[in-house]
Symmetry: C2
Subunit: 234 residues, 2 copies
DNA sequence: CTGGAATTGTAAACCAGTTCACAGAAGTTC
DNA sequence: GAACTTCTGTGAACTGGTTTACAATTCCAG
């Protein structure tokens, strides 16, 4: 492999615990794929036979109903691992994974990975930790869906995006993650129209601004506050 | 301990992998508690310092908002394990665990349990499997909340209760789990009134019946069908 | 078996968010 | 830079579910 695309499994948190020798062994089990923007990695109903390591790009993990409605569960960035990790020999995927940018990812067979992990206490512990994190994340997502209204949920999302995916600009922070209103809606469980509407109000209130189609966070404090209480309270 | 209350850790799925010797060692780390019906095991905000094994009784795990609204995440029966299991040194509990019947449970310090598990590959693997199951369960809960209406969610719940907590009677199955309309509502994410209303319609349709305050499942087939599609479709 | 507490039943008013139906703006492609 | 596609903006009509307020029933303790 050339040095441009040469990839260290080492860069994945999950694998941090492995020795160089073990990494080499694992490396032999790995396939690397390139997937074009908007193409699927896997679809609902596919067997869960691979574990994926995202090397470069952006992947959206979402649930879809037959009605066509869909909800985004996670946006995965380089270094993140997805696919069914637990030992449990579960049937088929309920989710769909689609790239939002051209992406490089590595793929290990689930059974292969599990056999490998079985011989590596530290790796099992890492998997354990990761599952715990995922669990807590989805639990708070449930909490938010049940107890917060759409403006609060959107405020929270923008707050988080501003921490994880933005750059400092004059008078605010520019969100770099390329998300349409539709995709924001899928992330907070609301319609595209509702998102447009709420963002409009937020702009009037001076909480956010926009540069063409990109969002600018203007008052992160108030956004953060809003993400707890009841939306716009008047 | 007398033979009535003597308890084999062995009966817990999670611990199946342990040898008798290991079980003995674990047993020394265990406290047994008796908790009165309706009393809490822990509350939101409590530190997550224990892992619990429910020996006898019934425990409700739920999330509550400051508004007082609450959602039930799980009903735990003897043999089930709860509390924060993953290695991740997470802060405080977001959930509340309350007994619905007088209950016996065993309690192991989380750090103790984790140290113990760290030396037991098979145990960690079991924990992983359990976390995987929990994850899948909550994922389908999210799916249901997002894509199914209240009648469908309730139908699904009744269907499941009829599989797991009912006894055969003449002309149907009697649900043995003691749940009020309020509690059914908390389980499906709806108000008490909505539950009363939907159950009423289900009774008219001949899907269910009631014996005093207890529910009887009359047509499990149609309930099951209903749990997929759009509630009452006319 | 009786009095009070908890649960169920009911219906009208209300509301957050969806649906529908377009119009305008911003990017993209050739 | 024209033609197209994708995305944003907007408002009216609608709807599933909540809220509120009470009445009726069931349960349980003494």
């Amino acid at each position: 492999m050339d040095s441009e695309t040469y990839w260290h499994l080492k860069n994945f948190n999950l694998l941090q615990a492995l020795s160089d020798e073990e990494l080499k062994r694992l490396q032999d089990m790995v396939n690397t794929d390139w997937i074009r923007r908007k193409d699927p990695v896997y679809l609902p109903g596919d067997p869960t036979e691979w574990v994926y390591f995202l090397k470069k790009g952006l992947v959206k993990l979402s649930m879809t109903a037959e009605s066509g409605k869909s909800a985004t569960v996670a946006l995965l960035k380089p270094g993140e691992v997805f696919g069914e990790l637990s030992q449990d020999e579960s049937q088929r995927s309920s989710m769909e994974a689609i790239t939002l940018k051209n992406s490089y990812l590595c793929r290990i067979s689930r059974t292969g990975f599990n056999d490998f992990a079985r011989r590596n206490k530290d790796l099992i512990l890492s998997v354990n930790k990761l599952l715990g994190l995922r669990l807590r994340k989805i639990e708070t997502a449930v909490y938010d869906m049940l107890f917060l209204d759409v403006p609060s949920r959107l405020a929270k999302l923008l707050y988080q995006l501003s921490l994880s995916d933005s750059i400092e600009i004059k008078n605010g922070r520019l969100i770099t993650m390329p998300l349409t209103h539709q995709e924001l809606g899928n992330l907070v469980g609301a319609t595209r129209e509702m998102v447009t509407n709420v963002l409009g109000r937020m702009e009037v209130e001076g909480l956010i601004g926009k540069d063409g189609r990109k969002l600018i966070i203007r008052d992160i404090r108030r956004l953060e506050a809003m993400s707890h209480g009841k939306g716009f309270q008047a």
